[in-house]
């Protein structure tokens, strides 16, 4: 690979990549995302390869194994370019027909296209399918166009132009200003302004500084970070390098899941390729800026995604949170200023630099700008990853994109943010997706998992499940969290099993007050949030369970 030393060389290279690509040449893009992988799409991919070989079409047709297309419910997904014909639930058996009919003769195979489960209405193109139609896919849209293991694919969709602009045309201060003006807020849960965090790290004393990608994605029911990091790793890397330049950091870390080899493999490949092109390493793009990245695998417990625990883990220590009386952006890894952002946060950065903060802030709400990736799961027709502008109502997401509730059931609640989040009831579904609006309702958006619950769900059970999860996935260091969760879990188990006693709800509230105020890290501080939100909207369910117990006790006494 040639090393690129300037902006013009980059554009030259891009032109070269594009010139070798005939936009009319058929390309079969098969989702190799984690969801479809589970649906044995590997067999579909090899069936396509075999078929193309057999028919001697290797020079006439491209095959691309891509990242997640989002619509995991209908996987394995196959997109045929240039027409963008979309086939769902494809099996190896369908492959010869797809090649002979669609790829060669441009004929749509009716039985493989999407059909609306209610109306039967069919849609042959991705953009016509309701799941996609109502989205705004700024971040995940490129997944279907990119083989994550090919940097040329990323260059073909305009990749690394934001990096070139940043390093060669902008000062670090200008980038900082642009990110601040874009009002980019962290997507990992807290919604903290990224520009402010970067500025703190930039201004913190010390020469050595670090930037970090949080790719732990421990939130239950969240799978959008994986979709981006494994499906389009260069977009995250590009954001990270730009951030490093703005902050004045020369060393980055990507902290990612140990249990998903595909993630690490794709990231490693991206780093190697970027380095070969001179987009990473010494003297990037001839700008004089040096930056290196190391990949770290997480420790498989939930708390290792918490910023200070993650940093300890990178240092090689057990992932125990540290009190953050001094912010990690001032004193993080080895006591050095460390700016940590979520995968999705970093992926937004090239977009902002490329298109400008004005363009960026034209999407979203007053205080939540841009788009948000959400993972839909639970009692919902379309499980998958969707991307919507902030401000889209929860109802639009669940019904417009998610296709509503299966089996003719009614919706009861939507739970946001996993074990540190909260639920909103049906009556509040018209709330817009917005950091502050949802937080006000006691259901902060978290990282973006949306667990949809139907009328048969017991909210006591769900709450108990989250606390059970936390009791295993916290570090266990501090008393209010470890013991508070233990006791709350015990009480909830009793209530669930019909052994609840009068006064239990009040005791739960008292414990939650103490864990919330006195725990060391945000895990303990918010461990009772699902409990508090379900007590806020579904208190009657707790009371009914306890009353049942009282009635049967009275009966026994009679």
């Amino acid at each position: 690979m040639p090393r690129i030393n300037s902006a013009s060389e980059l554009e030259e290279l891009r032109k070269g990549v594009l010139s070798k690509r005939d936009p009319d040449k058929p390309c079969i893009a098969i989702c190799a995302g984690m969801g479809c992988l589970g649906l044995s799409n590997g067999r579909v991919i090899s069936a396509f390869e075999k078929e193309i070989n057999k028919k001697d079409l290797k020079t006439k047709v491209d095959i691309r194994a891509t990242g997640c297309h989002g619509y995991c419910e209908k996987g394995p997904m196959v997109l045929i370019y240039p027409e963008e014909i979309c086939y769902v639930e494809v099996t190896p058996k369908d492959v010869p027909e797809i090649v002979s009919q669609t790829v060669l003769r441009k004929k749509v195979i009716d039985r493989l296209i999407y059909a609306d489960p209610d109306t039967g209405e069919k849609a042959a193109h991705q953009a016509e399918i309701p799941f996609y139609k109502n989205q705004m896919r700024h971040l995940i849209g490129n997944n279907a166009k990119i083989d994550p293991r090919s940097i040329d694919d990323y260059l073909a969709v305009g990749g690394y132009s934001a990096l070139s602009k940043s390093l060669l045309k902008m000062s670090p201060e200008q980038i900082l200003e642009e990110i601040k003006k874009a009002e980019l807020r962290g997507r990992g849960g807290g919604g903290f302004p990224a520009g402010r965090k970067w500025e703190t790290a930039r201004n913190a004393p010390g020469k050595e500084k670090y930037v970090i990608v949080n790719g732990h994605e421990g939130e239950l029911g969240a799978f959008m970070d994986r979709a981006i990091l494994s499906g389009n790793p260069h977009s995250v890397l590009e954001g990270l390098i730009i951030g490093a330049y703005a902050i004045g950091s020369h060393q980055g870390f990507i902290y990612t899941r140990h249990d998903t080899p595909q993630l690490k493999n794709n990231i490693d490949m991206a780093l190697t390729q970027a380095e070969e092109y001179g987009l990473l390493g010494e003297n990037i793009l001839g700008s004089g800026f040096d930056f290196h990245v190391e990949v770290h695998l997480d420790i498989g417990i939930f708390v290792s995604g918490e910023s200070s625990a993650l940093m300890r883990s990178i240092e090689g220590n057990p992932p125990e949170p540290r009190p953050k009386y001094i912010r990690t952006s001032v004193s993080g890894i080895w006591g050095k200023p460390s700016a940590l952002n979520n995968v999705e946060t970093w992926a937004n950065v090239p977009l902002i630099i490329d298109k400008g903060s004005e363009w960026y802030t034209s999407t979203g709400t007053e205080r939540s700008k841009g788009t948000k990736l959400v993972s839909l799961s639970g009692n919902i027709v379309n499980t998958g990853v969707a991307e919507v502008p902030f401000g889209t109502t929860v109802r639009e997401i669940v019904f417009g994109i998610g296709g509503g509730i299966p089996n003719g059931k009614k919706i009861k609640a939507v739970h946001f943010g996993g074990p540190m989040g909260g639920s909103i009831p049906e009556s509040l579904l018209d709330t817009p997706l917005d950091f502050d609006e949802l937080a006000k309702l006691g259901a902060p958006i978290g990282a973006g998992s949306m667990l949809v619950l139907d009328e048969d769900t017991s909210m006591v059970d769900i709450t108990r499940y989250f606390l059970d999860f936390l009791s295993n996935e916290s570090c266990g260091k501090c008393v209010p969290c470890r013991e508070g969760i233990r006791q709350m879990l015990r009480i909830l188990t009793n209530i669930r099993d019909g052994k609840g006693r009068e006064g239990d709800i009040e005791l739960l509230e008292e414990i939650s007050e103490v864990t919330g105020a006195a725990s060391l890290c945000a895990l303990g501080k918010t461990a009772a949030d699902p409990l508090l939100s379900t007590l806020r909207y579904f208190r009657d369910e707790y009371e009914a369970n306890i009353a049942k117990m009282k009635r049967s006790a009275e009966k026994r006494e009679l």
Partner: protein, 210 residues
């Protein structure tokens, strides 16, 4: 933290009393220097501050914001206002004590504090392990003795201390300096040590306890 690097003087207020402190000091150190008592369980002068028991929780007011912080860790800063007792602080301490008394009801240190804060030792069901995981033995062995004969294993509700038999067999008999540090009156460390030396690895302590 804890080691006073600089000497620039900071004035803070603790329980209405003006206290002079040096930069780098913790609230606990500042309070101790002014003879103001803040209870501690996991703190030890020879060890790095740890912040696990949270019994030292106090109310800290900074620029109009009130928050609950661990005094053993929180660094002093100019104009900081600290309240070592308040309704909420007492409530927090009472519940922490009740949590811990479910493990170690006979600990004199816990009983004394329970009296002060009105904690009821029967608030919660008794637990099988009497360790309160203050980490004094673990940290003393690591930081002072530099032997790491005892450590934490597992996480969350399953966290426990365990002696590493290979190291313990060599080091512990002549030392046992961690025993008297234990706030549950060295029952736990003694128990786990004996157990780890007496039984092979497969009959794990957890299995035995049940």
């Amino acid at each position: 933290m804890g080691k006073h690097k600089k000497t620039s003087e900071i004035i803070i207020q603790i329980d209405g009393k003006e206290v002079k402190a040096a930069e780098g000091m913790t609230v606990l150190e500042a309070a101790q220097s002014a003879d103001i008592f803040i209870p501690t369980l996991c703190h030890h002068e020879k060890l790095e501050p740890y912040g696990a028991c949270r019994i030292c929780t106090v109310e800290a007011e900074v620029r109009g914001w009130t928050k609950f912080v661990a005094a053993c860790l929180y660094p002093v800063e100019q104009d900081l206002v600290v309240r070592t007792r308040s309704e909420k602080v007492d409530k927090i301490r009472k519940m922490i004590l009740e949590f811990l008394l479910a493990h170690a009801p006979y600990s004199p240190q816990l009983q004394d504090l329970a009296q002060e804060y009105g904690a009821d030792q029967d608030s919660f069901e008794k637990e099988s392990s009497f360790c309160i995981l203050c980490g004094l033995c673990v940290r003393y062995c690591a930081e002072v003795k530099k032997k790491n004969a005892v450590g934490f294993v597992d996480c969350g509700a399953r966290r426990e201390i365990r002696f590493i038999p290979e190291i313990a067999a060599k080091e512990c008999h002549s030392c046992k300096e961690c025993f008297p540090l234990c706030p549950t009156s060295f029952l736990q460390a003694a128990f786990v040590l004996t157990e780890s030396l007496a039984f092979s690895r497969d009959s794990s302590p957890t299995a035995l306890k049940k």
